[in-house]
Every structure is written in C-alpha cells, then in structure tokens.
C-alpha cells in the first residue's frame, strides 16, 4: 500500500493555497460593494433574495439577504452599536419606534432613490420607504371550521374549541389582534386586563399558544390547528403549498402594519443600501412580489393590484384599515409579555 507522506514545506504550501482560495470570491464581487439587508425569514427571505439580488446587481452592488425577525434584528443591532451587522433593517412601526429611540437607524436622503416619487406620500417615511402593508386577519382551514366572523366568534362559537392558536405579545401579529380583542371585550385597545380575563375564562384557548406565526404555520400544515392570527402573506404562502387555507377579515376591521426598510446608523455601505431600497420599491420588483406565494401589497403607484390582493384589500381601503397605536403598545409591551407568559404557563 502506498504511504501518504506530507512534508512541512508541502503542508505550508497547501495552507497558503487554501488561504489564497478564500480570497477568490472577493474578486468576483461587484465593484460597488455589498449591502447586508435584514429581512423576515421564510417567504420574505426567499422572495427578496430571488427578486432583489439581480436588480441590486444591475445597479453595481451585491446583496446579502440575512433572515431575522424584527425583534431579533433590533437585538443584534443593539448588541453592536456603531458596528451594525446589517446595513438595512426591515420592520414595522412598532420596532421602528424602538430603533429611533435607541439611535439605531438614520434618516434617509430620498434624492438617492430613483423610485421615491412613485410612492404615495404615506409610504415616504423620513426613516425609509414603506415596501408593503401587511393586512392582518384570521387564517382558517375551511375543511375543519366555518369562516370566523371576527375575534369574538373564536371565543364564543364552540366550532373553534381546541382548534385556535395564539402567539404571545412579542409577535406583532399577536399584539395587533389582542389590541382589537381589548377593544371588543374591554374599554379600549390597551385594556389588556380584559384580554387576560377572557383567556382565564376560556382556558382551552391557552393550550394553543405558541412562540411565533412561523410555528403556527407548521402546526397548520400538520392539521394540529385550524385557526390562527395571520397576515395575508401567511395565507398566500399556505395556499401556494397546496393547503386549504382562507383569510377572514374580522368584522371589527383588519389591523394593518406598514413594513419599512431602514438604514442603520454606521451602515458599512450606504450606497449599496440605497440601491437595495430603490430596488425594493421599484416597479420591476413589486410586479414580482405581488404574485403568489408572497402576494405583497405594492406601494409603488405604477404597480397594478392582482385580483388575489384585491380580494383582501383595495388601494382605497388602505385608509380604513386599523393602524394600532405603537407608542402605546411599546410603552406597555414588556409588562403585557410577562403577564401573558405567566398566564399561559398557568
């Protein structure tokens, strides 16, 4: 048998070659540099990577799409102030308020965005453009349960018993639903004592509490649950997977949350970040992102709505959606999270 021998000199050469090889990808990179963009995991991540990467490349930059939930994005940027792991963040107004308060994001220069003028003024935020509006409601499996009329129905109609799943107050989707339930059963959107009392009176509802909407989608696929609080995007994804899923607009109105891209303070490559923002609000990108499985509501005026999106919401309905008071939510959120977690754990 032939023996395998390696001299110290050969080993050194091998190590040097490996180190040189590691630098090769840099040579292949675009001259303009790279933007590291945080996006929500799952549907968003896939769609943004496939749709926006070529557009950013055309502008002379590279794009790395890094999946992270909005709360995780905040936690990671807070962990390294001045040296953020992302150039841009993707989040709703609730997290945006926290980011501004903690000096994590900066105001943008709209003159660097060619597509800025194609957004309605409501979508032209001083801290970054709105790329879509997530319309929230109730996802249900029509084979297992009737279409819910609203949140009250889920607690009072025995057809839903043991089949509804909820998340904690850390989830934006969850907290928006709870604000609506507080209006129905309490004195106003921040009367969470009424919500906690309601759950105490319906302990079967507490059995279906899980950590996140992504987790609920997995359970929905497995037939473990038949109802959960969702965005239209969640239902579009489930339908694209061939599952029986429908979206119900609550009779009290659909809570909605704009989703914005923000430039981090200390972003390593602001030019690449602007190229990414511009791509995300371009007609080319939003024409693709409005299609299944993402079905994102386009904020670019030139993009026509699909019949699928119009079934959920039309442009003229945007103003009638329910936009939560995030300042009030953020003020109370920590306490609500702790109280609800203790309630759920019994």
């Amino acid at each position: 048998m032939q023996e395998f021998n390696i001299t110290r000199r050969h080993f050194g050469l091998l190590a040097a070659s490996a180190a040189a090889a590691a630098t090769l990808p840099f040579a292949a990179r675009a001259a303009g540099g790279m933007a590291v963009a945080a996006t929500f995991p799952g549907n968003w991540e896939d769609a943004y990577r496939t749709t926006l990467t070529p557009l950013v490349k055309e502008a002379g930059f590279d794009l790395t799409v890094a999946p992270a939930m909005a709360q995780d994005q905040l936690a990671k940027v807070m962990a390294s102030p001045g040296n953020p792991p992302y150039d841009t963040l993707l989040m709703s107004p609730g997290q945006m308020a926290v980011a501004i308060e903690n000096d994590l994001i900066q105001k943008i220069d709209p003159s660097k965005l060619k597509n800025w003028s194609l957004l309605d003024p409501a979508f032209q935020g001083e801290y970054g453009p709105t790329v879509t509006v997530e319309v929230n409601g109730i996802a249900y499996n029509p084979d297992l349960v009737p279409a819910p009329k609203g949140y009250r129905d889920l607690f009072e109609n025995p057809a839903y018993e043991g089949l509804v799943s909820w998340t904690g107050f850390a989830s934006n989707t969850g907290v928006m639903a709870y604000s609506e339930i507080a209006k129905i059963f309490g004195t106003g959107p921040t009367d969470m004592e009424a919500v906690f009392k309601l759950f105490k009176e319906h302990p079967e509802q507490l059995k279906g509490v899980v950590a996140s909407t992504n987790h609920q989608m997995t359970l929905f696929q497995q037939g473990e649950i038949a109802v959960f609080m969702c965005s239209t995007g969640n239902v579009a994804k489930l339908k694209a997977l061939g599952l029986k899923a429908e979206f119900a607009q609550p009779e009290t109105g659909s809570p909605a949350a704009p989703v914005n891209i923000h430039l981090t303070k200390g972003a390593k490559n602001p030019d690449a970040a602007y190229a990414y923002m511009d791509a995300a609000i371009s007609k080319a990108a939003q024409d693709k992102l409005k299609m299944p499985p993402t079905e994102m509501f386009p904020t670019n005026r030139q993009v026509e709505l699909t019949p699928g999106i119009e079934a959920y919401v039309k442009r003229e309905q945007l103003a009638t959606l329910v936009y939560p008071d995030w300042a009030a939510i953020n003020k109370n959120r920590a306490e609500w999270i702790r109280q609800f977690d203790a309630l759920v754990a019994g």
Binding site: L74, A170, A345
Partner: protein, 275 residues
Amino acid sequence: MKASGFPYVLPMLLLSVAFFATPLAVLVGFSFIGPDGPSLHNYARFLGDAFNYRVLINTAKLGMQTIASTTLLGIPIALLYWHSGKTARQVIIFLTLIPMLTSNVVRTFAWIVILGRQGPISETFVALGLAERPFTLMSTELGLVLAMCQIDLPLIILPLIAILSRTPVQFTEAAQVSGAGPWRILVTVLLPMMLPGLLAGWILVFASTSASFVTQAVIGGARNVYVPQLIYREVGTLFDWPMASAIAVVLLLSTGILLVAMTTISRHRRLVGHA
C-alpha cells in the same frame, strides 16, 4: 530534566480565557447592572417572582425526567451491544450515532409529525381502542420528554458502551455460576459496573436538556416555559440584557450545582473502583 507540559496546553488555555472565561466574566458583570448603578436588583427581581421559581423547577424536572427515560432505554441497548458480535456491535454504534449526524432542529421538527393528531402515536392508540379520538402530544410535557429522550439517548448510550467495552462478558457468567438470578445480576453486578458511565451520561443529558432552547420552544409550546426561553425573551424581545444575564447566571449556578454533585459522586473511590 523532565520537560514541563505547560507550553503544550498554553494555546488551549489562552483560547479558553479569551473565548470562555472573558465572555463569562462580562455576562456576570452585566447581571449586576441595575437601574441606579451596580446592584443585586436583577437577582432580587428574578428571585422575587414565584413564576420564575416554577420555571427553574420545571427546567430541573425536565432534565431529571429525560435522565430517567434515557436511562431506562439506554441500559438495555448498551447491554445488547455488550452481548453482541462484531457486526451487530457496528450496527448498534451506527444506529446510535446516525441521529447525531442530523441537525437538532430537523429532529425536533420531525417530532411534530410523530406527536401530532395524525401521527403514529395517536393513530396507534386509536387503532388499539386505547383512545376514543385522535389526540396530540404537542405542547405537553410528555411529548417534550419523549422528544428529548430520543435526541439525548446517544449521550447516555455512548459512555455506557465505553465502560462495557472494557469489561469481560464472563462477569455475568461468574455471577450465574455463583447462583445469582438475572435481576440480582443486574442490580448487584451490572448496575454498579455501569454507574460511572451512567453518571457521565446523566451529566451530559441534563446539561443538554436544560439548555435545549429549540426543542423546548417548538415541542413544549408556550405553556411549558423553561429557563432558556426566559433568557431569550429578555434578550430578544424585552432587550433587558442585565436581567437576561442574571437569569443565565442563575441557570448556570443551579445546573452547575447539580452537575458538580453528580461529578463528585462519579469520582467517589468506591465507584471508580468498578470502572
């Protein structure tokens, strides 16, 4: 003069100081940051809440339940290995190691299918007439213990196999010749012989289970809260890092005390003598 071995361990020592001791010191330091300067505020807040005590107890209980179930399953598998031929031993080792080659996340999600309403456990019970209708073990402590048991089983089997590999099978024959029955052999010969391996396995299983954030969150759901979830909540949702550090230190100390106790027992002179 005999050369000192110190230079050989120096790189490892430096790495440990840089990447373990220093971050740990930072973590401990963070835990004392209070609203008005250094204080025990976070510890007082954590220990002043009865809910947190329950979470600590639940975490320790989960570790103990997993230890008990992996022990009950691991001992027969290790004994089977001990009495098997060369090929069968290789098969057992392969089957033990193969789950470890799969990501913990993948194994956890596979358990959603197994524990669900349409999963094999529910369907078997319904088919045998032991349950009237399909049921789910998701978001239950029993479901979580079952999943943790499968995930951590190799951690107890491997130390047992290591002990038994060095032990002649003739030990049991000698006991039989002396007139001992199967149960007496198990209790007076095999278990004392395996105890150091069991203790090593228990330490690994306990440490793994009490820190298994993904499995606890996915299988246990929100109803079963354990300490790692509390830490995640403070870091990722409430952004209260000093509080998260204090909880992490409490977890480290509470599990550390249990692990030190187990290690002390495993190093006891009488037990080491059996290995």
